[in-house]
């Protein structure tokens, strides 16, 4: 009976997220346009200047567009995670978060359900992007589209948990621009999304170290290997560890007696 309650609540939370996603068409379009702009314009422009040597999982030289596609999948999920975070802060300011938090289920479950719902949306976005990329002749092996799914779920959960954690710290909606500057951009540019690690190492050891241990890099590498039907164990474990860390911290952040909610209250 209790389990049924959890499942129904999960279904309700996922359904709400999907409804919202469908109703906010601009959100869907911008989630799709952003990586496509990178793919069609940025990658086309840099195609001749940025050469990519043969590195696993690739078996031959690949075009720059092909190289950055997994990175752009990561970008779709990174932005979706931050979008969920933004909507959590918005919900909290507007009050609709209260409806969720006063329901008779443990808070960790509610946050987890919210995270799963957001991840589902990000996976749908990622596959839509891949479909458009396919028409642009960026094709992965057919099996790769299936092996990609668990990788996208794991990376989506990790980036969503990061968003959840940030939302427990951000006090007001206005502070969200800071998150863009201090989280999204460094995470994206200091990663293997746009250039391989050895490329970064060539210019700076410090940047190399930062990029290497950036969880976003690890998620992108996991996605890259999965897209070619390969399993990158280290990247997978690293992403999983980051997920657990971010999630536990987010749950603490939302705990009524220990976390940030307490200090945020007005009269």
């Amino acid at each position: 009976m209790r389990l049924l309650h959890y499942l129904r609540a999960l279904k309700g939370i996922v359904a709400r997220e999907l409804y919202r996603f469908v109703h906010q068409r601009e959100r869907f379009v911008s989630a799709l346009v952003r990586p496509l702009v990178w793919l069609f314009i940025f990658a086309a422009g840099f195609r001749s200047t940025l050469g990519v040597a043969i590195i696993p999982p690739y078996e031959t030289y690949v075009l720059y567009e092909v190289y950055i596609t997994p990175g752009l999948l990561g970008m779709v999920q990174l932005f979706n995670g931050m979008q969920s975070s933004l909507s959590m802060v918005y919900d909290r300011e507007m009050g609709s978060m209260k409806t969720l938090l006063v329901s008779p289920l443990p808070r960790w479950f509610l946050l987890l359900a919210k995270l799963l719902a957001g991840t589902l949306v990000s996976v749908l976005q990622a596959y839509t992007f891949l479909l458009v990329a396919w028409f642009y002749e960026i094709e992965a092996p057919p099996l790769g589209y299936a092996t990609l799914l668990p990788a996208l779920v794991l990376s989506g959960l990790m980036l969503g948990a990061l968003g959840l954690l940030l939302s427990s710290f951000i006090r007001q909606l206005e502070n969200f621009a800071g998150v863009m500057n201090f989280v999204i951009f460094p995470m994206f540019f200091l990663s293997t999304a746009l250039y391989p690690l050895w490329n970064i190492q060539g210019s700076s050891e410090l940047l190399y170290a930062l990029a290497r241990y950036n969880p976003f890099s690890q998620a992108v590498e996991m996605i890259r290997f999965a897209l070619y039907g390969q399993f990158n164990r280290d990247a997978c474990l690293y992403t999983l560890a980051a997920l657990i860390l971010f999630l536990v911290m987010a749950i603490i952040g939302y705990n009524p007696s220990k976390g940030m909610m307490q200090r945020k209250g007005g009269a």
């Binding site: 409806t99 008779p104 009269a267």
Partner: protein, 247 residues
């Protein structure tokens, strides 16, 4: 203690501070089934803090809150399952329609889809909103949105209903409709209601009163009892006297 004697809501010795500023100071009261208790207090009296504690958005280190006998801290799921809340801020999803909003709430309370639809129909019909169930909330006016929020708070048949200044910003007929409706819930369904407001015309003669000012309870009891305590002949005057001192 038998179920008959258990208060629907019991608050014991509850204190809460934001940093060093004490927002609630040793507050205690009970609300019994079928009783409508009006929590009167000027802005900043501590009403919203009290509501945040009863809904467990905040946790208090001092004091105890029980809903139908369940300790909110130790048995929060059981306690929250018996609580319906209408918050001061509107909390409906504007882009979703009425049904979608209500089904979401029903799911959070674990109602089966069929039971949820039955209850949604029942609650919306009672407030004359069933015909509008497929409209987006954005298209509804303030009074109708409030009705949907009250319907939502009642879907899981709570024994305690909290309303935090639910009529703020509404026109006179909408306000009156909501005040009447909630009072009927008390008498017809034995729901225990705690209604926070600073509008004295929302108080019925049969209500119980708690006057909160600067985090302390200044008076409590039935309307005649409170009037007698401060030797006032109407609630407005009593409220002024109780919230004037120590200014």
């Amino acid at each position: 203690m038998s179920a008959m004697n258990t208060p629907a809501l019991a608050v014991e010795n509850l204190s809460y501070a934001y940093g060093k500023k004490l927002a609630l100071d040793a507050v205690y009261f009970t609300v019994n089934p079928g009783e409508c208790t009006i929590l009167l207090g000027p802005n900043g009296a501590g009403k919203s803090t009290l509501f945040s504690l009863i809904t467990r958005l905040y946790d208090s280190r001092e004091g105890l809150i029980r809903i139908c006998g369940f300790d909110l801290k130790k048995r929060s799921s059981q306690a929250l399952a018996r609580l319906g809340v209408v918050f001061q801020q509107p909390t409906l999803d504007l882009d979703l329609n009425v049904m979608q909003n209500l089904r979401y709430q029903a799911a959070l309370h674990g109602l089966s889809p069929r039971l949820a639809d039955d209850r949604i129909r029942e609650e919306l019909e009672r407030q004359g909103m069933f015909e509008r169930r497929h409209e987006k909330v954005r298209q509804l006016n303030g009074g109708h949105r409030r009705r949907v929020e009250i319907a939502r708070a009642l879907l899981h048949k709570p024994q305690v209903l909290l309303l935090d200044e639910p009529t703020v910003g509404l026109d006179v007929p909408s306000r009156k409709a909501i005040v009447d409706y909630v009072h009927r819930l008390c008498s017809d369904q034995s729901i225990a209601v705690l209604w926070a407001t600073h509008l004295i015309d929302e108080v019925y003669e049969s209500d119980r009163l708690i006057v909160l000012h600067k985090g302390k309870i200044r008076a409590r009891g039935s309307v005649p009892q409170v009037l007698e305590t401060v030797a006032a002949d109407n609630i407005g005057a009593a409220f002024q006297i109780l919230t004037r001192e120590e200014k």
